[in-house]
Symmetry: C2
Subunit: 417 residues, 2 copies
């Protein structure tokens, strides 16, 4: 008897949790990703700010595949799906499936602003974080030998757009890097000359959080020296200038964009109905209308629960991955898969050393306790014993020595404004 | 009173040891390098074979500069020296010096074979090691989906040229990666299909070693499954073929070149006499003829001792760096610097897990003991507590689990034949 084949596209949190659930259940599980590793995206900003080496937040998929019975890995770029013929089309090949789980995640949404898209940094891939780190350090090297104060100031002015968790975490970590590490590395540059400007279009940061935690985050960031501007939008960036709606211009060579996400491009190629951000509308069991064998999960999927669209977050993807896997096992038993229901365990964001905000089951945490919980949870969800040890070591090292080791310029980038 | 300025070009073993010796002696010490880190080159081959993350063998120079009194760092590409005017010329600036130490190291020597230079991998920079690792893993991904046995075999055939320590260490580490790690990661590729071919033009490997250790290394490598061909030269590489002198052709997409080194290009731009490999002829105190204030050390310098040219090795560079620094301090005291004398403490090469060869003060070691000594010495000379811990952790992890974590494909390369 030939085993039925489940193909999972995307080895993020959603795809991985689906694969884990399906392994060893008598099905052939083919995991597909354009990279050969699972990336722990929540810590990318720490790679970008010289706190972690890139290798510690990536885990080779084949190391999982060899442990999971019936699982195999295929590296490749998926360019389309023949839903009717049950065929997955890759840039360099194609193969058939009996069940499909699409978990290709999201991409950054620049809302059509080409100037910004060309120059802005974002944090979606491992290479982005390394590029960002190289860029920051290169600017400090340049500032160190720039005699003109105005030009020097522009070199060490960093504009962060988007006051969600990524923008807040990145701005805080960057400020700490500048104040505690680079200020000692570059005696030629005064800390007072450096600027980290966090821009948010809404009237508060971390809009998904309760009021008091938003206020805490704002207060804390400002106390650290991050300039937070609310109700402020960027409209363009070129030739060393960031242009704000309203006419203000900031002299800077760095724009970090975390103000929007959209479903991965693959969503546009399926020929199925899409909702806001290009996300694919799925049925209650996470499958496509008319295709009970094809599931879309995580950031790619649009699903409304209790009147609100489920957010693009790792816990949603993880739970949906598990659900899609169980739905397939149910179909194999001849049963009808149940509807998906997201169990909200909370949300958190870290602002700096010993400072974070967290909300869970109605409880609100902030400061040291929230930071400790953030730390432990991130360690827990990181895959691989060695990676956990590496990250823990780096964190402990930084906590006690205020030193970040990975301040290496390993390449060049052309994203500079 | 204005402090006199010592400029040191190159932050390898030589430059670093000179800077360390000169720090806190009442001189301004300017350290110059094109990269912002010191690179521990002897372990590059372990980065290339997925055993270590690149960050663990690099150390930011500014982390040293901030500890060393009077020391500063300037990142930049040195394009020339005005010896008469005592000026160093960088791609983006220039400045004067009172004393100069040139320690720019070496580059790979392809002996004018352009086809090979265009396609071959070498290990001189951090990026080379990452490129090599990405390339090896990408070929295995391709082999895994290649149905044609001949084409699959060519994809996993690796040609290593040069039987010196680098070639031997790389070939051994690559073979271990293939046999212990990739064989389990890629069930689609049989280990018997993979080939690692080590080519050496001379009649033995490790020509600087005593006969019995050469024989041991050869025996050991062959027992591990490395195909060693002695008295064999490569003449060209193109279109998936490596051409050997004598007509033999090997189907392969990977040529690793460690068959020759020459002094860094900077040596050609000084307008001073050069010897074999472009190395700069120096006087007994390591200074240039007619320029007692300008020193050339390490791989860049040509010096004969007891009838033989000093080899391009880290210990020579380290000792010469210290000597040049002391010579400058002597000149400052109005004394004549003494001639340099190299104290040979031995040489070593590791072949595989628990297998190495070493010679020191007339004693010869091989096998487990030599390997342990190799390991401890490399840890000892690695800079930075965190780096030592990281490397030790990776080695222990590999030793006990036979698992190499850093098998990540983080980018693409165009060096493929």
């Amino acid at each position: 008897m030939v085993m039925k084949r489940v193909v999972i596209v995307g080895m993020g949190f959603g795809g991985l949790s689906a694969a884990k659930e399906l392994a060893g259940r008598g099905l052939e599980v083919v995991m597909v990703d354009r990279h050969n590793y699972h990336l722990f995206q929540p810590l990318l900003y720490q790679v970008a700010t010289a706190g972690l080496e890139q290798e510690s937040i990536a885990y080779p998929v084949r190391a999982l595949a060899r442990r999971w019975q019936g699982a195999a890995f295929r590296m490749g770029e998926v360019i389309g799906v023949d839903l009717a013929g049950r065929h997955l089309i890759l840039a360099d090949g194609e193969f058939s499936y009996d069940y499909l789980i699409l978990a290709a995640g999201s991409r950054t949404n620049f809302f059509g602003m080409e100037g910004i898209e060309r120059h802005a940094f974002d944090l979606k891939r491992l290479s982005h974080a390394e590029e960002m780190r190289n860029h920051i350090l290169t600017l400090f090297e340049k500032a160190g030998r720039e005699p003109d104060p105005a030009r020097r100031g522009a070199l060490v002015t960093f504009v962060v757009v988007g006051g969600g968790p990524t923008g807040v975490e990145f701005a805080g970590a960057l400020r700490e890097l500048v104040v505690h590490v680079l200020s000692r590395d570059y005696p030629e540059v005064r800390t007072a000359e450096t600027r980290i400007i966090l821009l948010e279009a809404a009237s508060s940061l971390l809009t998904a959080m309760p009021d008091e935690l938003r206020a805490y985050a704002l207060r804390k960031l400002r106390a650290m020296g991050v300039e937070v501007k609310l109700e402020t939008r960027v409209i363009d960036a070129r030739d060393g200038h960031v242009f704000l709606h309203g006419g203000e211009v900031i002299e800077s060579h760095t724009l970090f964009w975390s103000a929007g996400v959209a479903a991965a491009e693959l969503a546009d190629r399926l020929g199925v109905p899409q909702a806001g951000g290009g996300r694919v509308t799925v049925r209650a069991a996470l499958s496509l209308d008319g295709h009970p064998e094809a599931f879309v999960i995580g950031d790619m999927a649009h699903l409304v629960q209790d009147g609100a669209v489920l957010p693009m977050m790792a816990p949603v993807a993880t739970q949906q991955g598990r659900h899609a896997a169980r739905a397939i096992l149910a179909l194999e038993r001849g049963e009808q898969p149940p509807p998906f229901r997201y169990h909200d365990k909370g949300a958190m964001a870290t602002i700096g050393r010993s400072a974070a905000v967290a909300v869970s089951h109605g409880f609100r945490f902030r400061g040291y306790l929230a930071w400790l919980v953030w730390l432990l949870l991130h360690l827990y969800y990181l895959i691989g014993f060695r990676n956990r040890l590496l990250v823990l070591m780096n964190w402990a090292y930084y906590y006690f020595s205020h030193e970040r080791q990975v301040r290496l310029i390993t390449g060049e980038t052309d994203r500079r404004i």
